[in-house]
């Protein structure tokens, strides 16, 4: 009830303020940003009260206040707030990389690769096969020959197999889940980002040879760039991770500021040297975490999680605001079977892969539920297709974004259910986090988190 009152008051306040003001000096940007944080957090609280993940609330808040419904956050504001999304992706990627310890990778790496191989292959084949089978009803496959339909379906399927590191990380941050289901899901999601790019490169090369785009040179450049995007990201990310480790070793000051700067710097650097942002920062997080002493890496992670908290809220709210409901409504006859087939393939593939890898019964049963969400790199890949094949590519992108919107909303609910069923959901997560922080902050609780690393108090190790 309280949260509903907040939403009504805020909407009323915005209606009063918006006609009186003027653009300039970022006032409107800031106003919308603040409104989104508070409104999305309120809706997130509402969804938490009915045992749904907060992320779903953030997405729904974005959808409600976005251009599709109330239009408090209009299309221009979404564009203006785009840098927040870049920053969020960078923070998510770095945090995700920092979650991985080398020892754990050695222990769990084979299992992750086996799960990934089977689920990705099955999903790819199932989605591509379905599209070819119903190609008469698929907008971008109508009036094409079978080979062209096949390669275009493969290209769509290579994007559709993607998962969402953002949702996975946000939910793990929210629930503080650290059990085998959580760890395996995170591992599969992170490695799949690299695998998807490789798969997409192959599908794109095949598509170019069977159905050459109007501008062949454009395709060549894109493919070359894709290869560089992957390997360049690993090299540049490792270098950046090394720099962060050096900073943590010798400086260790102003971690809050440093965390934001690293994310901003990483995102900007990736853009300049044309490497994949997510993969680069993921590598940087992994390298810095594994080169640093555990308590130093932990202090940086805390600082980063704290600085990321409001950014995450806005990131998911913006994702919700960007959803185009009309597209989903138009495409639903195709969308529903497509989503169901992907789900079926995910369930079967993960189950088989987990059995092959000798995973625990919980992992066999529940990991697939954490792989439903989609986002991140896929949007970029869909855009490459749209640029390469302007006519059909636009339809591919539209169908993909509609699929993504549904999976993005349903996925967190399923993942939370999986964590709950496997007994990894930590209901006291926030209290524990606060205990750690109050322990770090001393009795008065007045020491800012930025100075945590400067404290000589040993930090508690990350729960396994």
């Amino acid at each position: 009830m309280r949260r509903l009152i907040i939403l009504v008051l805020m909407l009323g306040g915005m209606q009063l303020i918006l006609p009186l003001g003027a653009r300039g000096y970022g006032g409107q940007w800031l106003l919308i940003f603040g409104f989104l944080i508070v409104a999305a957090e309120a809706v997130g609280g509402l969804s938490a009260s009915i045992r749904l993940p907060k992320i779903v609330g953030y997405l729904l808040a974005g959808l409600l206040f976005g251009p599709s419904f109330l239009n408090t956050v209009d299309a221009e504001s979404i564009t203006q707030l785009a840098p927040v999304s870049s920053l969020a992706i960078a923070l998510i990627a770095f945090l995700a990389g920092a979650e991985l310890r080398w020892s754990e990778l050695k222990e769990r790496g084979v299992l992750i690769l086996k799960i990934l191989t089977v689920e990705m292959t099955l999903t790819f084949v199932a989605v591509a096969g379905f599209l070819v089978a119903v190609r008469e009803y698929v907008p971008f496959l109508q009036d094409t020959t079978f080979p062209v339909a096949l390669v275009l379906s493969m290209m769509f399927a290579s994007v559709a197999v993607v998962h969402s590191p953002a949702v996975t990380m946000a939910l793990l941050t929210e629930t503080k889940a650290r059990g085998p289901v959580a760890r395996s899901t995170l591992g599969v999601v992170l490695v799949s980002d690299v695998a998807v790019i490789l798969l997409f490169s192959g599908a794109l090369a095949l598509a170019r040879s069977v159905a050459p785009p109007a501008s062949a040179s454009a395709g060549g450049t894109s493919l070359g760039l894709l290869v560089w995007e992957i390997f360049g990201a690993l090299v540049v990310g490792a270098a950046l991770g090394g720099v962060v480790a050096v900073y943590l070793r010798w400086v260790r000051r102003e971690l809050f500021l440093f965390a934001v700067l690293i994310a901003f710097f990483g995102a900007e650097l990736a853009r300049v040297v044309h490497v994949e942002t997510l993969l680069m920062l993921l590598t940087a997080g992994f390298v810095s975490e594994n080169l640093s002493e555990e308590e130093r890496g932990h202090a940086l992670r805390i600082a980063m999680e704290r600085s990321a908290a409001p950014v995450f809220v806005v990131f998911f709210a913006l994702a919700g605001a960007s959803m185009e409901v009309t597209q989903i409504l138009v495409l639903w006859p195709l969308l529903i079977p497509l989503i169901l087939i992907r789900l079926l393939a995910l369930w079967l593939g993960t189950n088989l892969g987990a059995r092959w890898g000798g995973a625990s019964p919980e992992e066999r049963r529940y990991v697939w539920l954490g792989l439903v969400s989609q986002a991140g790199v896929a949007i970029g890949l869909a855009t490459i297709v749209a640029d390469l094949y302007p006519e059909r590519g636009a339809d591919i992108r539209t169908l993909f974004l509609a699929t993504l919107a549904v999976n993005q909303t349903v996925g967190p609910i399923m993942f939370r259910y999986a964590l709950s069923r496997s007994g990894e959901l930590n209901e006291d997560a926030n209290a524990e986090s606060d205990e750690i922080l109050s322990g770090l902050a001393g009795d008065t609780g007045e020491m800012p988190v930025a100075t945590v690393a400067e404290s000589s108090t040993p930090l508690p190790p990350q729960p396994a």
């Binding site: 309280r2 949260r3 009152i5 907040i6 008051l9 805020m10 306040g13 303020i17 006609p19 009186l20 003001g21 003027a22 300039g24 000096y25 970022g26 006032g27 409107q28 940007w29 800031l30 106003l31 919308i32 940003f33 603040g34 409104f35 944080i37 508070v38 957090e41 309120a42 400086v251 000051r253 102003e254 809050f256 500021l257 934001v260 700067l261 901003f264 710097f265 900007e268 650097l269 853009r271 300049v272 999680e305 704290r306 908290a309 409001p310 809220v313 926030n430 209290a431 986090s433 606060d434 922080l437 109050s438 902050a441 008065t444 609780g445 007045e446 020491m447 800012p448 988190v449 930025a450």
Partner: protein
Amino acid sequence: MTQGLILVLIVVGAYLAAHGVFDWLARKLVIVSGAEYLILGVLLGPSATGLIDATFLQDIAPASALALGWMGAINGSRLVLLRLVRIPALVYRVAFAESLITLFIVGGLQYFLLSWLFGLSPDRAFAPAVALGAFATLSGHAGIELAARRSRGQGLLVTTLRATTGANAAVAICTFGILLAFGHPPSTALSRPITPTEWTVITIVIGVAGGALYHLFLGEENSVDRMFISLGGVLILVSGAATYLRLSPVMAGMFFGMTLINTSRKRNEITAALSRVERPLYFVLLIFAGASWRLSAQSVWLLPVLLFVVARAVGKFGGARLAARLNDVLPTLGPDWGVALLGQGGLIIALSVNYLYQDTLALPNLVFTTAIISVLLTDLLSGRFAASVIPPATTTMTHPMPHRAL
């Protein structure tokens, strides 16, 4: 390389170098850190190297607007009524008398000088004169705290100095906020124009409503994460609303901080959450301010700047002495206690950036230049100024509290 990338590299490098050097200086020589970032901003900006251009400044304007609101909130959060009522009334009389004397001396002199020098009409000269008067009132507390820590002083002098810096900030913020309400361009959205009084009330309401919204939003929540998100979210909203309405985010932020700190049971947590990003935002603001600086187009710009520095020194020194004499505490505080108030502190940068945003007010570059020069002249030595006044611990502690204070 993009501008953003260069900027991050420069800021990080310069930050580390400056921080190391100035930390050492603060420890060894009682020099307060802060002005170095302002110099860095000037060096990076269009007036020097041009590494930061006008477009980039426009891009980071929201962050600096947020910094203004945040600084206001931090100042507001110092106004805890339960602690304030324990301070003797005498201290407030001295503090507010000093503030108002300085405000009127500097504001009045600037009004006449600016009218005469630039041929401004009384209406046009009013805004820069009052703004400069408000700026002159401000005193930095960092130097006083540094000197007080070194001498472990807790007597009437230190109490009065602390109360005076608080009163200075409150007077300056409110004066400036009301000035913006008076200088507000007419709004065409309503059937009748909104009066300055109504704009002032709107500024206060934004802050108070923000504080109320925070409580409504958070309820009895104990999570530090949620507290930080709520605090950040509402403060961004408050700063954004004030900036969007062309009002003072510093004043709205101050009322937000005051409402919050006086209605919450978690004062320590709120203070910790506010302090957490104070330094990063302050650095952004300083660099933004330095980069925004342009040499005033008027060739005689040096004259008002000189007048400001001299009149402020007279106001602080003479005003403090007069205030103490009027309240019969001159023997206790000492004749030169106003010297400790000469350091300007960071709030002047926030208010001057806020003035720069108001493109309808006269002489924005001149007002801004004056503020920057005053900070550069006084901030480095503010610890020294305070140390020259605050005696060693034993002397301070033995000063008797005058009867009127009791």
